[in-house]
């Protein structure tokens, strides 16, 4: 680990400017429609200073903080997936010529994003999507964006009501995978960032910033804040033997229970930073001269997701919720050697009826244990 330094709040915009100079488009948290989302940022005035967010099952509120922290919120509703694996991607376009056609890949250069405010759970999610898109047939669309990305991580010094990264072992501290990582401090009249680099590129940027050396007490102060966040998680999830638990309980009555509440809205899959299901769409022009092929986000909650000739395979709500949860927490482990859940809690917050993945697992585990003792 490289040595930590101190960046003063008043110099924060120099970091942004340096990255813009390097050719990056900075993306960070912004206020939009009464919530915090990720969007392009030009300066620190775009960040949600002095705002924080309250999360619970099916509940989100934006409220004022007592201070002007830039990263004093928990988690935006959308994730970095929006940028690395966009909701719509042009795969190629075909041009008709006579009875035949030719296929042309898109010519646009991949964007260079600097992601500001990446949380530990989100970096874990990016790592999980790396495994999905860099498999036996690497996806060049994801890969070309991903390899150009510059990551500015920010450690969590508070936990949200639906957070459970501590249970999933993904946070709240960023341990690697970032170019730069910061911890934000506000004490008395000082507003500073403990900052360190994780890569050469990150080190090169830091070398050009007006930094002060960090005090050992700054580091221990940061550690204490992060440790506090770890114990303040609004949710927990017991992951012990979870794969076997879910494999053995494919017919558990709890699936019927959750099916009676689930609206099949697919919000959980849209806000999930690891969900990667996509469908393809063909968009021919009216005269048929060209036909574009797009990749768009899809959801296993959609009836069409499992459609084969003769009809869909997963018809019941029960089977679709079971597919999502079992994939996320169990089959994902067989597929990618990692859980598909990072404990960000977005699926809980943004579920319109407040279905809670941690509660569902708990119910299956408890009822199974009760059954075992009968």
């Amino acid at each position: 680990m490289t040595a930590a330094s101190i960046l003063d709040r008043s110099d924060f915009d120099q970091l942004l400017a340096l990255l813009v100079d390097e050719g990056y488009q900075p993306i960070g948290p912004i206020l939009e429609g009464g919530r915090i989302v990720y969007g392009p940022i030009d300066s620190s005035s775009d960040l949600p200073a002095g705002k924080t967010d309250l999360h619970d099952g099916g509940m989100y509120r934006l409220v004022d903080r007592q201070d002007d922290a830039l990263f004093g919120y928990n988690l935006p509703s959308d994730s970095w997936k929006q940028y690395l694996f966009p909701p719509q991607t042009l795969l190629w376009s075909a041009v008709r010529s006579g009875g035949s056609f030719s296929v042309n890949p898109p010519t646009s250069e991949a964007p260079r994003y600097a992601l500001f405010g990446v949380r530990a759970c989100e970096l874990a999610a990016i790592d999980i999507q790396d495994r999905v898109f860099d498999g036996a047939y690497p996806d060049p669309h994801y890969g070309s964006i991903r390899e150009r990305v510059f990551i500015v991580g920010v450690n969590c010094v508070q936990a949200g009501g639906t957070c459970f990264c501590a249970s999933m072992g993904t946070g709240p501290e960023l341990t690697d995978g970032y170019d730069i990582v910061m911890t934000e401090f506000i004490d008395e009249d000082e507003h500073r960032f403990l900052i360190r680099s994780g890569t050469t590129a990150g080190g090169d940027v830091l070398a050009r910033l007006p930094l002060a050396p960090a005090d050992p007490t700054d580091c221990s102060h940061a550690d204490a804040l992060i440790a506090e966040a770890a114990t303040g998680m609004g949710r927990t999830l017991d992951t012990g033997g979870i794969k076997e638990l879910l494999y053995e309980n494919a017919e558990h009555p709890r699936w019927d229970d959750v099916a009676s509440r689930c609206l099949l809205c697919a919000n959980c899959t849209m806000v999930c930073p690891t969900c990667f299901c996509a469908t393809t769409e063909d968009r021919p022009t009216l005269d048929g001269a060209t036909a574009e092929r797009w990749r768009t986000w899809d959801s296993c909650f959609a009836l069409e997701h499992s459609y084969i000739h003769g009809g869909p395979i997963r018809v019941s709500v029960r089977s679709r919720y079971r597919q999502w949860l079992t994939h996320k927490l169990a089959t994902w482990i067989d597929q990618f050697d990692t859980s598909g859940c990072v404990g960000c809690g977005r699926c809980i917050t943004w579920c319109p009826v407040g279905i809670d993945i941690t509660e569902e697992v708990k119910a299956i585990r408890t009822e199974e244990a009760a059954h075992a003792h009968r």
Binding site: L91, V103, A136, D139, D282, P284, R293
Partner: protein
């Protein structure tokens, strides 16, 4: 910079290659076979599939039904049952389709060497088995007793009528055929395909390759197990919705499996648990 590095130049697995239809045969009222002329040939293993694209309409996974010894022609047998397959049905020689692949796992032609082989195909499920039988015929000396049980719904719904007639002329192949329902004019066997299984000649360490509707594969595997076939030696070909064919669209998941890259051909022992779960 970050840890992901993907070697240049990138090959986009989603890019399709246009190929011209060289021949077309109507098999039944709703099923047809098309031959494509792949520029530079198309090498594949029995059991593999491709993604076929119809200009402006969409893409579907289709098993290759041709002879692997003839890479100069790429053959698919298709049932018109959806938007893209119905568009394919309207295409004629000279028309162009897009092709990606081949993808997926093939039949265990290597593992079956030196052993007896039992092939069981039902309906359109015969199409992915045809390359396996072609391979066996081309390399007959590599295999022991070879028998095949074929089931169709009715005599009108028979595929590969000429090919089956030709296979039946091989003295070293036992080809048994049955239909689920027939009238008096049908001179062959009537009854479900599983009824043929006890009659096929094969050692119990034979390799079985089974393809057909899910329920047919379940009952066939059961009938094979009644004959003391080991579940590791029974192979089935799975079917799921697929949008990419290369393991990243999520549609073809079957429990922990991506049918496109982990399948479609799997040992029955690996999927037996999943066969028992509804809507999995």
């Amino acid at each position: 910079m970050c840890t992901v590095t993907i070697a240049e130049p990138r090959i986009d697995p989603m890019l399709t290659t246009p190929m011209v239809i060289s021949a077309r045969r109507q098999e039944t009222a709703d099923t047809f076979t098309i031959d494509l002329a792949p520029p530079g040939g198309f090498t594949f293993l029995p059991g593999e599939f491709t993604m076929l694209y119809v200009y402006g309409v969409g893409e579907v996974p289709i098993s290759i039904s041709g002879d692997p010894a003839h890479p100069e022609v790429l053959t698919h047998t298709i049932r018109a049952a959806g938007k893209v397959t119905e568009a394919l049905e309207r295409m004629r020689p000279g028309d162009t389709v897009g092709v990606r692949g081949p993808y997926g796992t093939g039949w265990p032609m290597e593992a079956a060497k030196g052993k007896d082989v039992v092939l069981v195909g039902g309906g359109i499920g015969l199409a992915p088995l045809r390359p396996a039988l072609s391979h066996i015929i081309n390399n007959r000396i590599d295999y022991g007793l070879v028998s095949m049980a074929i089931g169709f719904r009715s005599p009108h719904e028979m595929l590969f009528v000429e090919e089956i007639r030709e296979w039946r002329q091989h003295f070293d192949l036992d080809i048994e055929l049955t239909v689920d329902v027939a009238d008096e004019t049908w001179r062959g066997s009537v009854g479900v395909v599983t009824r043929l299984i006890p009659m096929l000649e094969a050692n119990e360490d034979a390799i079985a390759m089974v393809c057909g509707p899910g329920i047919m594969m379940t009952f066939t595997a059961r009938a094979l197990r009644d004959r003391d076939f080991h579940p590791d030696n029974i192979y089935v070909s799975l079917e799921r919705n697929m949008k990419c064919g290369v393991g990243m669209c999520g549609h073809c998941q079957y429990g922990p499996l991506f049918v496109c890259t982990d399948g479609p051909v799997k040992q029955f022992s690996e999927v037996e648990r999943l066969f028992g779960i509804r809507e999995v």
